[in-house]
């Protein structure tokens, strides 16, 4: 087959698949969001953004992303460099660290609920150590800070591994020669990290951050399990519109708002971490 045509033929199946199962539903959802039965309208968007809880859900979602993603990035970088330095047992450690990836987010939320709830592990432990006289209620409307902390912890535990996997692969691609040269000139380990690892890791950092930030804006099950209605987020409201209020138009509008936020942040990350033209490892 003609070498110029071959690549297009090879990506044809996946393109068709995406058109059928992504693009087409996406167009339907957009149509739903911009109509209420009588032509084009912004009523659905007006409805969801004027709801009194909307600013809270937006703020909560952003706060959570802002708190969780940087910690995960730092942790993933640290863990990736550690794994990279290992001579023995590297694979074993990697497997163990990526176990949370294999657990569904709802299950992760329930695991952490078992820790934080009134008759949970944390309470039994504090009780056993004599820190508290009797089990205390941690996840209540009176302790919004604790609810936030519990959700953030669960998210960090659950989703750091996805960044770790990408970064480990990226670090493995950096040629050893750069480090050897830097050592010859007497660069400290920290300097080697900031001057060699970080810049050469840009493409992987880009991918990891884009993936992670998009997932952070879609957070739902962990919040539902730990916070219930105490910590409303965008995705939870979308679910409520679709299934509690049976208002598909408003749910579609919420979904598009989340999509717009995700695209916005993706563009920002791509711009900030862009690889200069012509640069190669």
């Amino acid at each position: 087959m003609n070498a110029r045509v071959l690549p297009y033929v090879l990506i044809l199946p996946v393109t068709l698949f995406l058109c059928l199962f992504f693009l087409y539903p996406f167009l339907l959802v957009s149509k739903q969001a911009f109509s209420t039965g009588s032509g084009f309208t912004l009523d659905n968007f007006r409805e969801v953004t004027s709801y009194w809880k909307f600013p809270t859900t937006l703020r909560n979602t952003f706060l959570l992303a802002a708190a969780v993603v940087p910690v995960q990035l730092a942790l993933a970088l640290l863990m990736a460099t550690m794994v990279n330095k290992m001579q023995k047992g590297r694979d074993l450690i990697l497997y163990v660290w990526t176990i949370p990836l294999g657990i569904s987010d709802l299950a992760a939320g329930i695991i952490w609920l078992a820790i934080f709830e009134q008759s949970g592990f944390l309470n039994s432990m504090m009780n056993g150590l004599g820190i508290v006289d009797k089990p205390v209620n941690l996840l209540t409307f009176q302790n919004p800070g604790l609810v936030f902390l519990a959700i953030a912890l669960a998210e960090i535990w659950r989703a750091t591994a996805i960044m770790l996997v990408i970064l480990v692969a990226g670090i493995g691609l950096i040629p050893k020669e750069y480090y050897e040269a830097a050592e010859v000139f007497g660069a400290s380990p920290w300097k080697r990290f900031t001057r060699i690892t970080l810049p050469l890791l840009r493409p992987s950092l880009q991918t990891a951050l884009v993936l992670r930030v998009i997932l952070a804006f879609e957070i739902f099950a962990v919040v539902a399990a730990l916070g219930g209605t105490l910590f409303p987020v965008l995705m939870g409201e979308t679910y409520a519109y679709q299934f509690d209020l049976l208002n598909s138009g408003a749910a579609a509008a919420m979904a598009l708002i989340i999509l717009a936020i995700s695209i916005g942040f993706t563009l920002i990350i791509l711009r900030l971490l862009r690889v200069p033209k012509g640069a190669t490892i």
């Binding site: 709830e117 009134q118 219930g228």
Partner: protein, 422 residues
């Protein structure tokens, strides 16, 4: 025979087997009720086992339930034979999508229920299937803290608040339990209990001065309510664990507590306020979608569900009470006896003020509930000013009533056209 022809043969054989199975399929009973595994199993074995043509009983959450139903209706053909759901689920549907059941010859013994089942049309769109209500329950250990002179079967809201306060003081932590979790039925308490008891209305009186008094009373009760209530959805769990001593919930969400430890708990009527003892009946029904594959089998299943024996078997399986006249046998589970007594006392009390299920709201039922849930979150959890919140939410309620044109239902005074928010 080549490899391909073998595969082809196997595939066609499989296809023939599949069509053969589909032809003699059981009637699919697609339900939002009796979801917990034990209840679903009891439905299959004890209730539907006696239906000769065979039934495939599939309970599901409201969302997926509606999604599949709508998909079948839009496609114009389907596999669902019979629907089982709450009145609210049916009223959110287009009555045209349901088969007219007026000529079935079966109906409930209650005229109110039969009227509700018409969904605002002239004919029965579903057949009332089973009923329940919301009651109070308490740990017997808490009875000693009842205020002086209070009769547990004729409590007032003031006495309930005092009782909860006494229990709070004795236990050192709040022991009243309220199903305010994400799946909790808190909105029904406001619509069917608090508002009728304090304002003798739900819609008309939503932002009245009496309503402000009602929310003030509820705030007082909340001071003695376990703050983890915002995660409680089935109060039987907290009764059994001891996290709550005095609770309010749906009869079937309290049943497990009575069945596991019948001697430890007592069920009693909801309290009374200045305008009577508000309470709300719950109604589930069975209907046939217009896409049912086998109309005769579906109709005979609906008839079967209304038979007295089936109704008693359903009571045992789900803790929902019969809607037809039946003589209840003696050997019922403890939860049924306890709840049945409490409901009878509640509806038979001199000051009973029943609040009916919202009717005529169509698919705005969820929005209607949200008005009450939002008021609760803002007034009680966020501590906002009651008058300000009610005046703000009032606009949303009025918009829902105007959009749907739903007339007032008891205890609101009847209205011409849409029920006004005064």
């Amino acid at each position: 025979m080549t490899f391909y022809s073998k595969i082809l043969g196997a595939a066609s054989g499989l296809a023939i087997a599949c069509t053969g199975m589909a032809a003699q399929a059981e009637t699919l009973f697609w339900s939002t009720q009796a979801k917990p595994v034990e209840e679903a199993q009891a439905m299959r074995e004890q209730v539907l086992g006696g239906f000769e043509a065979g039934v495939d009983y599939q309970p599901n959450d409201g969302g997926p339930w509606l999604t599949r139903l709508n998909a079948e209706l839009q496609a114009g053909s389907g596999t669902i034979g019979v629907l089982g759901a709450l009145h609210g689920d049916f009223s959110a549907m287009n009555p045209d999508d349901l088969v007219d059941l007026s000529d079935m010859g079966v109906m409930s013994a209650s005229g109110t229920f039969n009227d509700l089942a018409k969904l605002g049309t002239d004919s029965m769109q579903y057949i009332p299937w089973m009923q329940a209500s919301y009651i109070m329950a308490a740990n017997k250990d808490a009875l000693q803290y009842l205020p002086d002179g209070a009769d547990i079967n004729a409590l007032t809201y003031d006495q309930l608040i005092q009782w909860a306060a006494n229990a709070h003081e004795a236990a050192g932590e709040p022991k009243f339990g309220f199903p305010a979790g994400p799946k909790g039925l808190k909105h029904r308490f406001f619509q069917g209990y608090l508002y009728p008891s304090y304002t003798n209305g739900v819609v008309r009186t939503f932002a009245s001065d009496e309503a402000v008094g009602a929310w003030e009373a509820f705030r007082k009760l909340w001071e003695h309510t376990n703050p983890a209530s915002t995660n409680f959805s089935f109060m039987q769990e907290q009764l059994l664990s001891g996290d709550a001593w005095i609770v309010f919930d749906h009869t079937s969400r309290l049943a497990q507590a009575f069945n596991e430890r019948p001697d430890d708990f007592v069920a009693f009527p909801a309290p009374a306020g200045p305008t009577g003892r508000g309470f709300m009946p719950v109604l589930a029904g069975v209907a046939i979608p217009k896409t049912a594959p086998d109309m005769d089998a579906a109709k005979s299943l609906v008839e079967y569900m209304l038979k007295p024996e089936t109704q008693i078997a359903t009571l045992r399986a789900t803790n929902f009470f019969p809607v037809v006249d039946v003589a209840l046998p003696e050997d019922l589970p403890p939860s049924v006896k306890a709840a049945g007594d409490a409901v009878a006392k509640m509806s038979g009390s001199a000051d009973a003020n029943p609040g009916l299920l919202p009717a005529g709201l169509g698919d705005k039922g969820g929005d209607f509930n949200r008005v009450f849930v939002d008021s609760f979150e803002r007034i009680v959890l966020a501590g906002q000013d009651i008058r300000m919140v009610l005046d703000d939410q009032k606009g949303k309620l009025a918009a829902i009533m105007e959009e749907t044109g739903a007339p007032c239902w008891a205890p609101d005074a009847p209205s011409e056209g849409a029920c006004p928010v005064e």
